[in-house]
């Protein structure tokens, strides 16, 4: 079977929800978000920039609010049994804004760009793209024959290793597909397949998108069916001020707001839209740093903490309780493990056994990289650990400082962003020796279990395999993972069909204003 249901909601196989029967065309959607520079989509560092271009430059696949990935510019895809050959069948009838047809050449052009190390695109780090690259003379370059154009609308990729998440990778924000004639910067080469085009982009101020109605005198036919909005405006507001801008009715919707603003949001007239995500705060202990080299200490920490009690303190609405491993309920390949129970006495006993009969003092570095709630969570942990005789000092440091030490600190609270598949994070963060393995966790057993899960395309089958790896990780007590946090955004009552998305990717094709 295919990794994701290639079945769409309607016959056209569109990734978007079905049209609302009451939908009215027209109107301008004003969104508060940071407006960034958008010189080259392949080198975007932030989601916001991709949101600015997302209605103009589209992707091969699209992960919906439900975290399910569906074909977008591709019509469908196929993978070989060994997951080393992927064939993408491109949608026919997709037009560029300059009138050109969208073809496999366009896709090839994009992959060639991404794999060119001189461009510096982060896409080269995606497991799918990196499997097309070899090291030659100390420089990475595309392997000959890795990309194969079968016909105008079919393209095949030959990979050096099995890759499970190719379709998910194709909706990663810097993988927007540009025209084969693209030359940065984007302003001088505005061309896309989307229903809208950017007419004005002033960094730090505004980004204005208008519906494309005609191309070279011909009416423009958007492949994705009806879109309702005439224009989409992004106005630059800092994260902190977006909700207040919304409250002041300057905008109709906002990019996001923090949990600390929830009460305020509730008091404002509008719809709060929460998305379930796999974003989390991973309070990991470095297994090769004192005192965490002793597994009993780590275990005592995890045993003394009741994640279920912490979550409502930090995120009263939405979100999931974490289970001290890195697969989230929102992941399609998640399978619940045996529930965790808090055991203070057990924790004390373990500590005593580890040579700390009078308790122990630990210090956690908190960078609040994702908002002040990190600190709130750490404080809740501190209160619980006290019961087991563990004194937790919370060392609050600036975000930029935290990012300098995040892989080295013995005990740190790191924010991990959402990734569509459970295997993706597990493999990025916990495989022996990988660069982002911040806990220093090294277990051949775990690696083997993960390999097996990654080689399995079938989701149902993969669940069990991934659960095995998760169990190993949980048993090793590498981390306290209290919360899978929700993301919140807000739209006014007149905005209909405003989608929530776990990574805040905007897709407004079916949004309409009443």
């Amino acid at each position: 079977g295919l990794p994701s249901p290639a079945v769409a909601q309607d016959a056209a196989n569109l990734p978007f929800p079905a049209d609302d029967a009451n939908a009215k065309a027209g109107g301008i959607l004003k969104v508060a978000m940071q407006v960034q520079k958008i010189d080259d989509p392949a080198t975007f560092s932030w989601t916001q920039a991709s949101n600015q271009t997302r209605h103009m430059l589209e992707y091969l696949a699209m992960t919906g609010p439900d975290n399910v990935t569906r074909p977008m510019l591709a019509e469908r895809w196929e993978a070989s049994e060994d997951l080393k050959t992927w064939t993408f069948y491109l949608r026919k009838g997709v037009k560029w804004h300059n009138g050109d047809d969208f073809t496999a050449e366009d896709v090839k052009f994009n992959f060639e760009r991404w794999t060119n190390p001189d461009l510096g695109s982060s896409n080269i780090g995606l497991s799918s793209v990196s499997a097309m690259v070899e090291d030659k003379d100390g420089k990475k370059s595309l392997i000959d024959g890795a990309i194969e154009i079968v016909d105008d609308h079919t393209i095949r990729f030959n990979l050096t290793k099995p890759v499970l998440s190719f379709p998910e990778d194709m909706y990663n924000y810097p993988t927007a597909i540009v025209h084969r004639g693209f030359k940065p910067p984007l302003d001088s080469s505005m061309n896309g397949t989307g229903a809208y085009t950017i007419t004005e982009n002033v960094v730090g101020d505004r980004c204005i998108l208008k519906k494309v109605t005609e191309v070279g005198g011909q009416p423009f036919e958007y492949w994705g069916g009806t879109v309702f909005l005439d224009e989409i405006h992004y106005y630059n507001f800092d994260a902190d001020n977006q909700l207040t801008a919304f409250a002041g009715q300057s905008v109709d919707a906002i990019y996001d707001f923090g949990v600390e603003q929830m009460e305020l949001a509730k008091a404002i007239d509008g719809n709060i839209i929460a998305a379930r995500t796999a974003q989390c705060l991973c309070c990991r202990m470095r297994v090769d740093a004192e005192p965490f080299t002793d597994e009993r200490v780590r275990k005592a920490v995890t045993m003394a903490i009741d994640n279920a009690a912490i979550k409502p303190l930090v995120y009263p609405e939405g979100g999931d309780v974490g289970e001290n491993h890195h697969v989230a309920p929102v992941h399609p390949d998640y399978q619940a493990l045996a529930p965790l129970t808090r055991d203070v006495e057990g924790a004390k006993a373990l500590l005593a056994e580890a040579g700390h009969p009078d308790g122990i003092t630990l210090t956690i570095d908190v960078g609040n990289t994702d908002g002040p709630w990190h600190q709130t969570a750490a404080e809740a942990m501190r209160d619980q650990l006290k019961d087991a005789g563990i004194t937790l000092n919370i060392n609050v440091i600036p975000a930029s400082k935290y990012w300098e030490i995040w892989t080295q600190t013995p005990f740190g609270a790191t924010a991990w962003t959402h990734r569509p598949l459970g295997t993706m994070v597990m493999s990025l963060g916990y495989r022996t020796g990988v660069p982002w393995n911040e806990s220093g966790f090294a277990s051949p057993e775990f690696d083997a279990a993960l390999d097996e899960a990654e080689a399995t395309l079938d989701v149902e089958a993969r669940k069990g395999l991934l659960a095995k790896a998760a169990q190993i990780l949980q048993d090793a007590s590498v981390m306290v993972m209290p919360i899978w946090r929700p993301v919140y955004c807000m739209a006014s009552k007149s905005v209909n069909g405003y989608p929530a998305h776990p990574t805040q990717y905007h897709q407004f094709n079916k949004v309409w204003m009443s």
């Binding site: 909700l243 207040t244 002041g248 600390e260 305020l264 008091a267 002040p372 709130t376 609050v396």
Partner: protein, 339 residues
Amino acid sequence: MAVTEIPSGPSVLDRLSKPKPVAVLVLLMWLPLMAYVMFGQAIGGEARAVLLPAIPATLILYVLGIRAFRESRVAVIGLTLVFFWLLMAVSAPYLPLMDPNKPIAPFTTPFTERNDLFFWLGTDFKGRDMLSRMIWGCQRVLVWGVTATMVAYVVGAMFGLISGYLAGWWDEIISFVANVLLSFPVMVLFIVILNYLGPSGFNIVVAVTFASAPAIMRIVRGLALDIKTRDYVYAAQTRGEHPLYIMIFELLPNVRGPIIVDACLRLGYTTVAITTLTFLGLGLQPPDPDWGLMIRESAKTAMLWKFSYMLLVPALAVSSLILGFNLMADGLREMSLRD
């Protein structure tokens, strides 16, 4: 003015009003507060014990102040406002307040009860008690504000005396540096310095020194230029005193008057500056309460009429303290003009 005879039986208060006891009282009030705020963590557990002598000292100083300022109603009002906050600062740990950093019940409006607790001024977005945060908040503003002003004065007065008294090349160089600093708008200076050094109380002291010392230097220089032509300075010179002696013993005591008035005003400015800087994210850092921080944090959440108290409380608190300083300055000036 008239010859002021000291009455035969001086009362306790009279005896305390002499410079020496006052200095001791000020130190008794100030050092513990400074130690508590700056090094509270290093002192550890029973840090609040250091504040014990400060409370009576503050009260006695207030009474002395009222006596000294009784001629000017304005000054008395100012003094009362300032000492109210000083008293709050030294006694905050002993007041029956909730933990200012503990999230209890978010967004509780003033005068309501939640979780069996009554919140006089409500709670902020994290659920921390506003009353307790407001009272604790004055500690940091006061300590850092006064320390920063003091350091600025020491530096400014030193250079002012050198520049004014020695004149010549000293004056040219010091005045040029002062001009460079004065040509920077204050905020630019603050932003650049704090951005470079990183936000913290000690760095605020540095920044305020850089920003205020040139102006103070100018004032002192002007006064020194005037005073150095007084006959008593010539008298000192003609008996061969060292310039340092003349600067410290002959000039310095006589620039005191105008400087004290200016210092009160400047304390006001510094308080504004610290609050503003904290609001801009360049000043004091979370989590401990501080008025600027309270404003900064709630500026994001209080954008509804219902929640505006979160902004109102710290805004009024900081205004009242500054009003206190300004009224004191006004009163002092008024009294100095009358003599």
